[in-house]
Structures are given as C-alpha cells and as structure tokens.
C-alpha cells in the first residue's frame, strides 16, 4: 500500500520537478541563446476551404550580460567627400564620425575611407588606441570631386578584411549624398556587391544624406548585406544617426543567421515579406547578417494552405535556424514548426487568432503595397500608384479595426498621406527617399 501511495507521489514529485526544470530551461537558455518563435497568425482555420496564411518567424537576440562583455567591432566608415559635400555637410559628417568613434575602445578595429573621384584610405584598419590621431586624420577630409561609391565601398571592405573575423561585428558604414558616377553605378551592381560581402559576414549600413543620393542603390546595398539604412535630410542629424548605428553595432549578439523554412503537407510558399529570399519549390531560405541584443527580427511567410477536414491538425512548416553565437563562439541551431488546426466554428477561429502576429503580417503586407506604389509611380502610373496606397490604407483601416490596433491605424494615416504625397511633383524626390527609408526600416525592423 505504502508503495502504491508512494509511486504516484514520486511520479508527481518527479513530474513537478521536471516541470520546474522545463519552465526554467527557456530562461536559462535565454541567457545565451537566440529565441526562435514561430507564430501562425491564424492558428485555427476554417475547414474545407483553402487559405492564405501568414506565418511569422521571429528571432530575438538575447540580452548582453554586461556592457564590458560586448562583442568587438570591426568598422569601416566610408565617407563621401565629393564636391556636393562641401561646406557644413562635410563638417557635420566629420564630427559625426568622430563622435561615433568615441564610443569605441581598444578592442575595436576602425578604418576610415573617403572617396571622391578616387579613393583615399584616411585611417587604415587599426585598433582604436590613439583616438586623437584618428580624429586628426578625419578632420583632414575636405570635400572635392566626383563620387566613386563602388570603389569606396570596395576599399572599405578591404580594410575590414585585414581583421575580418567571425567573432567581430564587421560593418561598413557608408555615408553618401550623391549619385555614384565613377565606376559601377547601378543598384543591381551594388546589390551584387552587398550580397557578396554578406557572404563574408560583412554588412553595409548606408546613410543617405540630403536629397541627391540614389535611394534604390543605397537600400539595395544595405538590404543585400542586411545592414541598416537611414535617410538624413539635414547634416546636423548625422551625429545622432551615427550614434544609433554604433549602438546597434555594439549590441550585436549573433551573426550569420540562416533561416530555412520548409513547407510541409502540400502547403505552398507564396512570398516572404520584407526580406530578400530564395524560394525553391517548397523551400524558402533567407539570411540575416546579425541579431542585436534584445531586438526582435522577424520574417513573414505567406503560404497557401490546401483544404482540410475539420478537427484535424496539420503541420504547415518546419523551420531551421542556424547562427553564430558571438558569446559562446559556436555555431548553434534552432528548429521549430508551425501547426494549424482546422475547425468549422468561426468563433473558435476568431478566438484563436494571434493578434500580434497578424498585426505584424498586416504591417508587412501594407509595406509591400507601399513598395509597389513606388514602382508604379516610377513607371509613370500616378493614378495606379495612388490607387495602390488607397487600397493599402483601406486594408490597414479594416484590419486595424478588427484587431483594434493603434499601430495599424497610424500606418493607415501614413499611407493616406503618402498617397497625397505621390502627387506633389517637386517634393517627390524627398518623399521617395523618406518612403524608401521607412519601408526599409519596417521590412528589417530597424530600430532607428
């Protein structure tokens, strides 16, 4: 009897203990592991009907234990010093670079490259020991000449390579205010370069200054290498942007993040929202160059789900993520899956809806609309572009209501404003840059 009583007791104790352990595991893991969440916007779907579903795959960088233990940075600052940078602009750029470098210390490597028609290596890759010498070199930069952007980035990347390491945050920070007019100058060529650099673990952050730069080129370059992109209208704001950027650089916790999503059971991938991706058959792959401390990065995958019987469960996708953990200095991998349930009850469907994931999905969809609108506007179809944005706004509006989301409401107002902005001919250049930068930030969940 005794034993009969004790057996369940022990089992209970063991189970309770196991539960405690299991519940502690994520916390322990969170200390030095990236968090992978796979959320289906509609976990319960109506049966006997095919669906389009959004799957949000999000990754969150763990918290940096303390400031001292951060990852060393290997940064190349590439400054445009073409003639158009003359006057205050170059002055602010210099000061912004100097203020940014102030945050670095001996662990870090910095190099400064400036370019006009030609490229000058102002500060070759060096440990940040003698701050003053670096500042003096930077203060020597004066504006003159053309814009050899490609060569500038090439040389900046080359400086990074001198100390290239998987254990460092390798980043080129490109600041430009003009069109590339020496050497390769198309967005696709720069994008190709960005993609190639990303394979080496180098990301390129592009900061467009003023209204003269090519936002397509700059966002492509940043996008393919998963850097940040910012539009800075006034040179005075460069310093804060540099500060944000260095804040990001110094808070990287993981690099080389490969996300592989395999669709199962006849589920078909339609598109991956926001980021460049490869879709081959039922396999979707994308890549993030880095994860920042306590920042959530996500991708939204839109899939088509075939008809299912009621009260069944179906595995939609299996996700594999691999990344370099900069603290443990190991390659780690995570995996997960997303399972949908099918029901006839509309109420159940509604109740089960994951509002957060759905909100993010809607945001990305609207962002995609916004991109299409720019394309339409570029091809001269003003009315079409306007229509797209208006549709986007009404879509956002209805979703905001059903989700009661103020964020989407805001985005709707934005979309309507953008629709108006499409028409203003003289301001379009600026609007386009702002729009591009905003889209980029939304798509990559950039913090600034």
């Amino acid at each position: 009897m005794n034993t009969q009583i004790e057996k369940p007791m022990i089992r209970r104790i063991v189970r309770a203990f196991g539960f405690v352990l299991l519940s502690q595991l994520p916390i322990l893991a969170q200390a030095n592991q990236v968090n992978l969440n796979i959320n289906l916007a509609t976990p319960v779907m109506e049966a006997e009907q095919s669906h389009r579903a959004f799957i949000k795959v999000s990754l969150e960088g763990f918290k940096q234990q303390d400031k001292q233990a951060r990852i060393p940075a290997n940064v190349a600052i590439v400054l445009d010093k073409s003639g158009s940078m003359g006057g205050d602009k170059i002055k602010y750029a210099r000061e912004a670079a100097i203020m940014a470098i102030e945050r670095l210390d001996e662990r870090d490597i910095v190099s400064v490259v400036s370019y006009d028609s030609k490229v000058q290596v102002v500060v070759p890759a060096t440990q940040v020991r003698n701050h003053q010498a670096i500042y003096n070199a930077i203060r020597n930069i004066h504006a003159n000449g053309n814009t050899a952007l490609f060569a500038g980035v090439s040389k900046g990347a080359n400086e990074l390579r001198k100390f290239l390491s998987r254990n460092k945050v390798n980043r080129v920070i490109l600041m430009s205010d003009g069109l590339a007019n020496v050497g390769p100058q198309s967005a696709s060529e720069l994008g190709e370069l960005g993609a190639s650099l990303a394979k080496e673990g180098i990301s390129v952050t592009t900061i467009g200054l003023g209204l003269g730069y090519n936002e397509d080129l700059m966002t492509r370059l940043a996008g393919f290498s998963d850097g940040n992109h910012a539009f800075v209208e006034n040179a005075e704001d460069l310093a804060s942007v540099f500060q944000y950027e260095f804040g990001d650089v110094l808070s990287v916790v993981a690099q080389g993040v490969n996300i592989e999503i395999r669709c199962r059971n006849g589920v078909k991938p339609i598109r991956l929202l926001g980021r460049e991706s490869q879709i081959i058959g039922n396999r979707v792959t994308t890549r993030l160059n880095q994860l920042y401390s306590q920042q959530e990065k996500f991708v939204i995958l839109e899939v088509e789900v075939p008809e299912q019987q009621a009260e069944t469960e179906l595995e939609l996708v299996a996700v594999n993520v691999s990344y370099d953990n900069l603290f443990t200095q190991h390659q780690e991998s995570l995996s997960g899956q997303s399972v949908a349930r099918f029901s006839r009850s509309k109420q159940e469907v509604k109740a089960a809806r994951n509002d957060k994931a759905f909100e993010d999905a809607v945001e990305q969809v609207a962002n995609e609309f916004s991109r299409n609108a720019i394309e339409a506007r570029d091809s001269g179809d003003l009315e079409g572009a306007k229509k797209i944005l208006q549709d986007s706004a009404s879509y956002l509006g209805s979703q905001a209501e059903s989700l009661s989301s103020p964020r989407l409401q805001e985005q709707k107002v934005e979309a309507l404003k953008d629709a108006d902005a499409l028409e203003t001919e003289q301001d379009w250049n600026k609007q386009r840059k702002e729009l591009k930068a905003r889209q980029y930030k939304r798509a990559t969940q950039q913090t600034y």
């Binding site: 490229v119 000058q120 020597n140 053309n146 050899a148 090439s154 050497g183 370069l193 879709i279």
Partner: protein, 603 residues
Amino acid sequence: MKRRTPLILAVIIALPLLLLAWFGVRFQLDQQQVAAHQLSNLVTSRLQSIDQQFQEHFSRLQQHFILRAASLQRETEGHYNVDSVRNFISQSAVVKQVFVLSKSGERRYPPQDQPLNQQEQDFVELTRHLLSEPERFTMPVLDPAPPQRVANQRYSGARNDEIQSARLSSSVSEKAGFSADSSISELSTSVKEHAADRPHGWIAWYAEAGLQQIFWLQDSDGNIVGFALNLSRLLSDLISLLPSSSVAGSGVNAEQENDSEIRLINDRGELAYSWGSQDAGPEAEAGKKPLQTLFLSHPLASWHLDYYTAGLPTLITGWLGLFALLLLLAIGLSTLAYLLYREHSRELRVAEQRVNFVNQVSHELKTPLTNVRLYTEMLEQELPEEEVVAQRYLGVIGSEAARLSRLIENVLSFSRLKREGASIRYQQGVVDKCIEQVVELFTPVLNSRKLKIRFVGKASQLCHFDSEVLEQILNNLLSNCEKYAADGQFVDISSWQKESSDSLYSYIRISDFGPGVPANESERLFEPFYRGSDKLTEGVSGTGIGLGLARDLARAHQGDLIVEQSAPTEDVSGASFLLTLFTPIALTTTKAVSTMMADKPDD
C-alpha cells in the same frame, strides 16, 4: 678700325654662345627623348605589374575553384546534387552561379527536373547559348600567369612541394577573402594535382549585363564544372588589389608619383577605378589622351589601363639650367669683351695723344728750322768765296737743316694723311725738272756719302702733277738710298712717260746698288714703322714711315710705288723702286680731282 673692334668682340661673344646654345639644345632634346623613353618604360612596367597582379588574382581564383570543384565532386560523389551546390553558392563570396554539364553535354546543374530559384532561372536564360555548345569547354585556354612563388610548386610532382602548395593556397584563399572552408585543406593533394592537368580554362563571354567571367574545368568523370564569377565582387577585389590615392596634404603614399593617374577602364569603356594624383580632375582632361595604354591579359582582355600624367617637370629644369648657363656665359663674355674694349680704346687714346704730341712738336720745330735755313742761305751768300772752311760748314748746316725739314715734313704729312687723307694739287709742270731739282738738292749730301746720281730724264712732256708730292716721294726714296745703299757708288734715276688713251703716266725708276730688298720683305717695307731686317737697319736712324708715306702719296696721285724684283744675279744687287704717277696733260676739271681716303694702312 674703331668700328671693327666692337664687331670682332661681338663675334667673339656670339660665336661660343651660339655654339653652346646649339649643343645645349641638342643635348636637351636628346635628354628629353631619353627621359620620355625611360618614362614610358617605367610606365609600361608599372602597368604590366598591375596586369601581373590581376593575373595572380585569377590564378588564385583558379586554384581555389579547382579545389572547390574537387571537394564538391567528392562530397556529392560525382552527382552534384542540388542542395550541395546551392549550399556552396550561398557560401562563396566570389561565385555568382555554378553550372555542371555532363559528359554528353547535358545540363546537370542548374537542374532540369527540379524547380529553380530566380537567380538560377536568370542564369540559365543568360547562358543558354553558351551551355548549348559544350564543345566550347574542351579546348584548354592558357592559364593566367600564376604568382611567381607558386609557379614552380604547382606543377612539380615532389610531395614536399605539394604540401607547401596546399598551405599556400589556403593562405591565399584567406587573403582573397573567399569563404573559409576547412574542407579544402583536407583534400588529398593528388586530387589537386590531377585537376590541374585536366582541361580547364577561363571564358570571358559577353552577355546582356556585360562581360561574364567563367572558369570551367573537367572533373575526373568527364563532367564540366563551371563557375560564373560575381562581377561586382570581381571588380571590388581588383580594386582592393590596386592602391588607393594618397590623402591630400599628407605623405601617406610618398612613393607614389604626384602628378600621374592610372585608370582602369572596363570592357564598356567606362571608368571602373582610378587612382593617383589629386589635381588632375576628370573634367580637366575631357579630350586628353593617356600617355600610355595597356590592354590586360586574358580573361580581362577587353579591359585596359590608361596612364595619365600632367607633364614632364624634370625637363623644364633642364631647359632652365641650359638657359642659366647661356646667360652666365653671355654675361661673362660680355664683361670680358667690355674690359678688352676699354683697354683697347685707352691704348688707342694714348697712342693718339702721342701722335698729337709728335705732330705738335714737329710743327713747333718747323718755324725755327725755316729761320735757320733762311739765315744759313743768307750767310752763305754774304760770305766771301775764300772763306772755304766757313762755306763748307755752312753747307753742312744747310744740308742737315734741309734733312731735318724733310723729316718734319714727312711726319706732318704722315699724320695729315692718317687724319684727313691726301689732297693732291695738280699744277702744270715738267716731271724731269722737278726731278732735277731734287737731284740737285741731294747731290751734296750723296756726294758726301760717295754716292753719285746718274739721272736719265725722258719725261719732259708738259703735264699736270703735284710737284710737292713728287718731291716728297723722291726725297724719301733718295734719303733711303743715302741711308742704306751708301756703298753702292751709284744711284740710277731714270724717268719716262707713257701715253695711253687720253691720259699720261709718268714713270720714275730709282735703283741703287746696295744690299737690296729680299723678296719676302718687299711688301712689308711699305708698312709704317717697319724697318727692314736688323742687319740692314743696324746703326741707321729712321722713323720707318718714309716708304709707306711715299707709296700712300703715290697712290693718292693715282699711281703706285713698287719694289721691282730684278733677276737675282749675283753681280747686280741693289733695290729698284718704280714710281708711277698719273700726270694728265690737261685737267678735265678745274679743281683737284682725287681725294682718296687712305685709311687702309696694310694695303
């Protein structure tokens, strides 16, 4: 004379200057050519070294690809399954796309039976012509020049070398920033060795997007594996190989020339990268031609390097140097010439002063001498005949005084001749009479020297001549006879006249039997202040202007005075002077005709 000196001096200055300038310019031009040649050699070698660097880059890529192809083949056991290849592409920074053709020319990758991603679709579209002709991949193309140090090791069979080569290639792949892959080093060396012997090559191939670079090789199963390069990345790597421009205002790249620029031009003729001087802005030389152009080697054959330079500053200093040298020389020579000229003119002035002084003195002597002669004559007439001694003394005084006055007359007319030329006053008279007068005057003097005058006069025609000039000439000739031919006993004087077409010439020959004049001295006798040989003039006083004056006068009289070269027979020695005078019978003009400037002393 006075105008000639500066002329000569100018020539002295100009000649060496011109010569030096000529040679200097020639030298400079040669130098320029040599410098230009050297520069072009230098530039060529510089550009070639860049080309070599590029070749090394391609060679490194080739090695890398050979290794990667082998490891791919090994990993997939010769099947090249899709996931492995995609994985390789996603990791390799330099490769854009890979293709695999089977032995029969069938495409194995990108797969034909599986869905392709966007990039692969684009690539297949782009390369459909290329991939449909697998025979392109049978002819091996010349390898890019490998890095020097690796060259020997790659093809040698020795095992040590192979290991070294493997190490090198892994370091090379790191250097070039290719995706690090540990599997390469695990690869057996024999695979690598064999891979190098199998057909492989680079294809530079035009597609819509420009020149595509493809490296292909045959694996051991006969499959063709091709690697298409990421062009942007290729250019970026090439740019990284090239130097950057120096920072303005700091000497970071001191070894780089300041005023040259090298440009890398791609297959579309666009500027891909340039480096070098800061000053030469691209807008400055829109139409400027490069100093030198070098086309790169395969596979970048349609690319070229242009070398621009601002100018050749070194040669300007060369010209400057030459100019300075010439200037210095000109100044030096001018100073020297000026000093010489000053010295010379001072001497001239002093000489002139001396001549003036002599003239003055002679002039002052003339008046008292005239008085002496006058009173001597008066006394001679007053004195009774029987005072023989006194008469004889008076005779001596008279003849000496006459000689003195002749001397003075000579000096004065010499200086007058020099100063203003001779003026001839033609008067009517008979030449013989004039000669007789002179002979009469000289007879006592010559007698005292035991000389006897034998005069044969045949010039008795009335004509016009200047008797004073004639007298002076004869005086001079005869006093020469007295001085130098005293032991000749006789002085022969003969005169005749010859009429030729409307004019009359009178000839007077004066011959002595003294030592004579050597043939080589006959001209110099007439130079002023020249006095025959030492032997002759020894112990004889004289001014040395007599004969010259006589000839100048004769020439002024449109005649001449020459030394006659008699046949040098031993027994008949002595000098013979022939005087020719133009003695017109009637004067066509009332005034004196000829005033010849006689400022040619050596004529």
